[in-house]
């Protein structure tokens, strides 16, 4: 098992390396440098700025410097907020994004699994029907669109929630629901299908033939096996949630990393762009790693690979 984890961690580092390289290369392909503003700066000023930030060096030297910087925990300097480092800026935005993301993810998993299992266990009853309708509809509408609709109904019309900003719990509700709805619906569908499949398995019949309580059969035999495919999709769902938060933060004016990224792209802020992309990739990769490990814990068949 430890070998498995070590291999995956090494792979993660390699992936991050490749991601950083691709992003770095892409950044340098964006037309107009980091200094192009509405009013063009004098060439001498541009040259001086470039020299100051080491942007006049050859590409691979820049990349090398950047990697060295990362090893020291330094993700570079932001070009728009020149007196703060990228790391500082990210750390400011991180808590908001983290709270939003975690709330949404936990909500999605709990609601999705509960709904899916309930539907499977009460197949062909109204619970099942509602769950299937719900999950099909909400699995199609992404956070961005749902967020807008929620905002219209609950902020503009009903005045129950504020339209955005950050600081009080009521401001988390709508963005979290908007973000969580799609993953929840998707997970509900998978859970339902998986549970139905598991319920039909022979070993469930064996468990009953031993005279076990139905509750025990449910938890020990059905639940654990049904969750295997769900865990598999948890990783990509988390990744989708992370990327979805970029737009949702923009709509609800949440000062998190997603909004920072959007602003950074407009401002051609190389440093900040690199930092956010790397950060997101890191988070996604960690999530995938956790999911892989969890999968090994739940399903002993793949542990001995």
């Amino acid at each position: 098992m430890t070998r498995f984890v070590i291999r995956r961690v090494l792979w993660l580092l390699l992936v991050l390396l490749v991601v950083s390289f691709i992003t770095f290369a892409l950044m340098h392909l964006v037309p107009g440098g980091p200094w192009s503003r509405e009013k063009a700066l004098a060439p001498a000023v541009v040259a001086a700025l470039n020299a100051r930030y080491g942007l006049d060096k050859p590409f691979f030297v820049q990349y090398g410097n950047f990697l060295m910087g990362i090893l020291h925990g330094n993700l570079g300097i932001s070009y728009t907020y020149q007196n703060r480092s990228v790391t500082q800026i990210l750390m400011q935005g991180f808590p908001k994004t983290a709270i939003l993301g975690t709330t949404a993810f936990v909500f999605a998993m709990i609601v999705g699994i509960a709904l899916g299992m309930a539907a499977a266990l009460r197949q062909n009853t109204w619970i099942d029907y509602v769950c299937v309708m719900f999950s099909t509809v909400f699995a199609s509408v992404p956070g961005f669109v749902l967020g807008i609709l929620l905002m219209i109904v609950f902020s503009v019309i009903l005045h129950w929630f504020p339209t955005g900003g950050w600081g009080s719990p009521s401001q988390v509700v709508m963005p979290a629901i908007a973000l969580a709805a799609l993953p929840a619906a998707f997970i509900a569908r998978i859970t339902r299908a998986s549970t139905l499949e598991t319920m039909r398995q022979d070993y469930v019949r064996t468990a009953r033939s031993k005279g076990l309580l139905e509750r025990v059969v449910l938890i020990r035999h059905i639940l654990r096996n049904s969750l295997i495919p769900v865990v598999t999709v948890a990783g990509p769902q988390f990744a989708a949630l992370v990327t979805g938060s970029v737009i949702v933060e923009t709509i609800f004016s949440i000062p998190g990393i997603g909004r920072l990224f959007v602003e950074a792209v407009f401002a051609r802020d190389y440093g900040l762009i690199m930092g956010t992309v790397l950060f997101y990739s890191f988070v996604i990769s960690i999530a995938n790693l956790v999911v892989d490990i969890l999968y090994g814990v739940i399903d002993p068949r793949i542990r001995y690979d």
Binding site: I22, A139, I148, I152, V156, V242, T250, V265, S281
Partner: protein
């Protein structure tokens, strides 16, 4: 418990091809049919927009701003006096175009890569799949935004940016199909008869994998549509004067408290279109599933 069939009195079911059988099953699925009809109607409305509405997408009437729906402006007007209904129809053109053309690129890149990886196997497959893994670790919206920022420009660059990131799923799918077909007995038989790569691909691989590919494309289209809307909302997608539901939303966002109609209708349109595609995709998936055949 299975019933055992008495050979003397069992009836032989009429023989259906996979496609014929699939069509029958699809027809029976009301949600999928509803979705399909909605899409077709919207497409027709988008194509024939000039015949349906007298207003253009950018036609401003500053004497009639922020009006509620009326007989003159069916869905009201926005902050610059533009007719919302007209903008919705023309915006549909963009959305549908994005949906379709990105898939062309997705298939153009994903099919060959997946087929090569699956067919060649070994190291080639290994390298390609590692690359796919890396792509999966990228937050895809961010990558699309970056690529679009590099390419600049408008709708064509957008097709490319979205397609360049979205081919991964199809490649994986085709690779999987290729690998499972490759190992099946009838392929060995075909090879033994002298059939070569392209023959096998054409006769065996394609018919088998066409189903899942169709389903995958049906689910990819709404994702592309949504991505365009999101990007246009931020300001990186298509540029005015090209109509877009996303830019309608961002335009109306500023005046959301004054009149929420402009934001509501495009958002609703996106939602409905995506739901329609999902219903259709689900229906196609069930219809084409060989395990559910009679």
């Amino acid at each position: 418990m299975a019933t055992t069939v008495n050979a003397a009195n069992s009836s032989v079911r009429p023989h259906h091809t996979l496609w014929g059988d699939a069509w029958v099953r699809l027809r029976r699925n009301k949600l999928a049919m509803a979705g399909g009809i909605f899409i077709i109607l919207l497409t027709l409305a988008a194509i024939f927009a000039p015949l349906i509405t007298p207003y253009g997408f950018a036609h401003q009437d500053l004497t009639a701003i922020l009006q509620n729906p009326s007989s003159k402006h069916w869905l009201g007007t926005d902050g610059l006096g533009r007719d919302v209904f007209a903008r919705l129809l023309y915006g549909a053109r963009t959305s549908l175009a994005v949906g379709i053309f990105t898939q062309v690129i997705v298939l153009g890149i994903g099919l060959p890569i997946g087929a090569i990886a699956g067919y060649a196997g070994g190291r080639v497959d290994n390298i390609l799949m590692r690359f796919v893994d890396v792509m999966y670790s990228f937050p895809d919206i961010l990558l699309i935004i970056l690529i679009k920022a590099i390419l600049g420009g408008g709708i064509y660059q957008l097709f490319f940016a979205i397609g360049l990131v979205a081919w991964v799923d199809i490649a994986r799918l085709v690779r999987g199909q290729m690998m499972s077909v490759k190992s099946r007995d009838f392929v060995a038989a075909a090879r033994a008869m002298g059939g070569m790569g392209p023959y096998i691909t054409e006769r065996h691989l394609l018919p088998n994998s066409l189903g899942p590919i169709i389903v995958s494309v049906t689910f990819n289209v709404p994702r592309a549509i949504f991505t365009e809307a999101a990007l246009s909302f931020i300001g990186i997608g298509v540029r005015p004067p090209t109509p877009s539901w996303g830019s309608m939303i961002s335009d109306g966002y500023a005046v959301i408290f004054a009149s929420w109609y402009q934001v509501f209708f495009p958002a609703l349109a996106i939602a409905l279109l995506m739901i329609a595609f999902t219903f259709l995709g689900d229906g196609l998936r069930d219809a084409l599933d060989p395990k559910l055949r009679h």
